[in-house]
């Protein structure tokens, strides 16, 4: 319990620090955030009154506390260009990003765990010697470049998949779930998910392999061998189960990182998710939207880090719960 409270306090501290950093970046950086909003043609007086309306005439510390209170209530302001509440825009984009992230992660981890266990089992073989550099190379290839090649081959040359977006023009759905489960959406999802999974599978694969190698030397595995169990059963029931723990933690951490880390894949495939909104908002100097998208992405990252900590503490009794922060 004390461990839980300490981690929670830590996460809240980090979150507050990130929110503060954002406030300072958006207020103190060169360039007036209002320049895009207030027309040059207005008189000085009306400009001042608009500034007062937004609270920009208040001292910085007062602005900071108003901002904090607003962020806590999900009040992120209005987008300059879309003229809609930032909260609504980012919340509409979140499920689209999560659909991509989650499918990509699941595919990557299914493949990575199985292939990693296999490579650990066949340690020292020719297969392992060839696979490891190939896996490292997939971690090193920029995702957007892989996406470009897949697009060129499978969308433009072969015409098997759409070349971008998340829906065919004119499609209408009665509910969000119906949209996310429609065949059209899934058809659009294939290429981005494959690109993402191709990039992600390296981590679970290498992690699974190295923890398997560690676990294989543990006493309970030796014990199982001594009991006369077959290699296959030892690998599957004893070693693999315990090697899954770091992989599960990595999965949770990746989920948090990817909500904002998918930016380039979303751009290549015109996927209308959170990352694409962030890029478009930044390019258009739409500060409230850029700030809101960034905060949501940071929140996802920090809360998933917290969940991963919990996961680890609950699943592995060897983690000491009263370690010093």
């Amino acid at each position: 319990m004390r461990f839980l409270a300490a981690r929670l306090a830590h996460s809240i501290f980090v979150l507050l620090a990130v929110v503060t950093l954002m406030f300072l970046m958006f207020r103190l950086m060169p360039g007036d955030p209002m320049a895009a909003y207030i027309s040059e043609a207005l008189s000085d007086e009306s400009r001042q009154s608009i500034r007062a309306q937004f609270g920009l005439d208040l001292p910085l510390w007062q602005q900071y506390f108003i901002y904090l209170a607003n962020v806590c209530q999900g009040e992120l302001g209005m987008s300059f260009f879309l003229k809609e509440p930032v909260w609504d825009i980012v919340m509409a984009a979140l499920p689209v990003t999560l659909a991509l992230t989650f499918s990509g992660l699941v595919l990557a981890y299914l493949f990575g765990v199985i292939a990693g266990a296999f490579l650990a089992w066949r340690r020292g073989s020719l297969v392992e010697g060839i696979s490891i550099p190939i896996v490292l190379a997939t971690r090193a290839a920029p995702e957007f470049w892989v996406g470009m090649i897949l697009l060129s081959v499978f969308a433009f040359s072969l015409g098997w998949f759409p070349s971008g977006g998340a829906a065919s023009p004119g499609s209408m759905y009665t509910s969000e779930w119906q949209r996310l489960l429609s065949l059209d959406f899934l058809h659009h999802l294939v290429l981005p998910v494959v690109t993402l999974a191709l990039y992600l599978q390296g981590l679970p694969l290498l992690l699974m392999r190295s923890t398997m190698l560690d676990v294989m030397h543990e006493e309970y595995v030796t014990m199982a061998r001594m009991k006369g169990l077959s290699t296959k059963r030892v690998v599957l029931n004893h070693a693999a189960r315990n090697a899954m723990l770091p992989v599960a933690t990595a999965f949770t951490l990746s989920l948090g990182q990817l909500v904002g880390g998918n930016v380039v894949i979303e751009m290549v495939f015109s996927w209308p998710g959170l990352g694409r909104i962030l890029v478009q908002a930044v390019s258009a100097s739409d500060y409230p939207l850029a700030q809101g998208a960034f905060l949501l992405v940071a929140f996802a990252l920090i809360s998933m880090n917290f969940v991963a900590d919990l996961f680890y503490a609950v699943l592995d009794p060897r983690v000491s719960h009263d370690r010093k922060a």
């Binding site: 620090a17 990130v18 970046m25 950086m29 550099p133 697009l151 930016v263 390019s283």
Partner: protein
């Protein structure tokens, strides 16, 4: 790796082992060879490139040499504006090397200093520096660099600043943990007793021993920075007056090279990024076995 000969023994033997390991491990050898190849290309870019990478080229009949497939004159073809892809690729190595090396140097310097002070002095210095590191690691990486690029003028240094501002804690933490054990060693005690100052102990007795691990993290950062620069340029936040591999990919992407199947335009630059980053992985793999000998069996 320039280390003074008068340093304490552990680091010297480590250095020797490093050299031995690099020449013994085919992966590390391949990594070093790739780095050398790209470094040489970057240095001699002016001699290797067949054209100025941003010049618009013309054919003998006066037409712009746009969208040419690879041939004897344009080794990797030309872009839709008639620029030579091969020459862009060669100059791309130069900006990649610059971004990679400067980010790596900054991360190594900041991370090592933080780790040294944090581990050696402990107490509130340690607490403040480590909490700062926690915050840096909790900031979404690419989104932060994009926001940073939005406020500052499009510039290569945005990436270098962003990468170093967010990646120093990894190096800092690992250096700190090394310092925690090093400061209890008898030769450090001996130096203290003989009246050496804190800074003397830190920089002449402890620092040389943590340098190998700093360099390990540095070699990973080179790849990361090049990778990140490519992503930022691809998203359109890079400088438009210098040629980088990310710039080439963005140029190809927005100029419909994909629908025309102009593979010669966008495949080579991505391959170069992949090769350089993989080289970093290969080298650090060798290092890893050196630093964590338990993995060697």
């Amino acid at each position: 790796m320039t280390e003074k000969p008068d340093e304490s023994r552990p680091s010297v033997s480590r250095l020797r082992r490093f050299v031995k390991l690099t020449t013994g491990d085919p992966f590390a050898m391949a990594g070093v060879a790739i780095y050398l190849l790209f470094a040489l290309t970057a240095i001699f870019a002016d001699q290797i490139a067949t054209y100025n990478p941003l010049d618009i080229l013309f054919l003998p009949d006066g037409k712009v040499a746009a969208n040419r497939s690879p041939d004897g004159q344009f080794w990797l073809g030309t872009t839709n504006l008639g620029r030579d892809v091969f020459s862009q690729l060669v100059y791309g190595a130069r900006s990649a090397l610059m971004v990679g090396l400067s980010a790596a140097v900054m991360v190594v310097v900041v991370g090592t200093l933080v780790g040294l002070f944090s581990g050696y002095f402990g107490g509130w210095v340690d607490a403040v520096l480590m909490r700062l590191g926690d915050v840096a690691l909790s900031i979404p990486f690419l989104p932060f660099i994009i926001v940073l690029a939005a406020f500052l003028k499009p510039n290569v240094w945005n990436v270098v600043i962003g990468v170093s501002a967010l990646l120093w804690p990894n190096t800092g933490r690992i250096v700190r943990s090394q310092v925690l054990t090093l400061r209890e060693r008898s030769y450090v005690e001996a130096a203290k007793v003989s009246g050496a100052s804190h800074l003397q102990i830190l920089f002449t007795h402890i620092a040389p021993n943590v340098l190998p691990i700093s360099f390990l993290y540095g070699s990973i950062v080179i790849g990361w920075a090049i990778f990140t620069e490519a992503s930022v340029s691809f998203l359109g936040f890079g400088p438009s007056d210098s040629v980088s591999w990310g710039f080439m990919l963005q140029d190809a992407f927005v100029s419909q090279a994909l629908s025309r199947g102009a593979y010669y335009w966008f495949v080579p630059s991505g391959l170069c990024i992949m090769l350089v980053v993989t080289a970093g992985f290969f080298i650090s793999r060798g290092y890893e076995e050196l630093l964590f000998p338990k993995l060697r069996d």
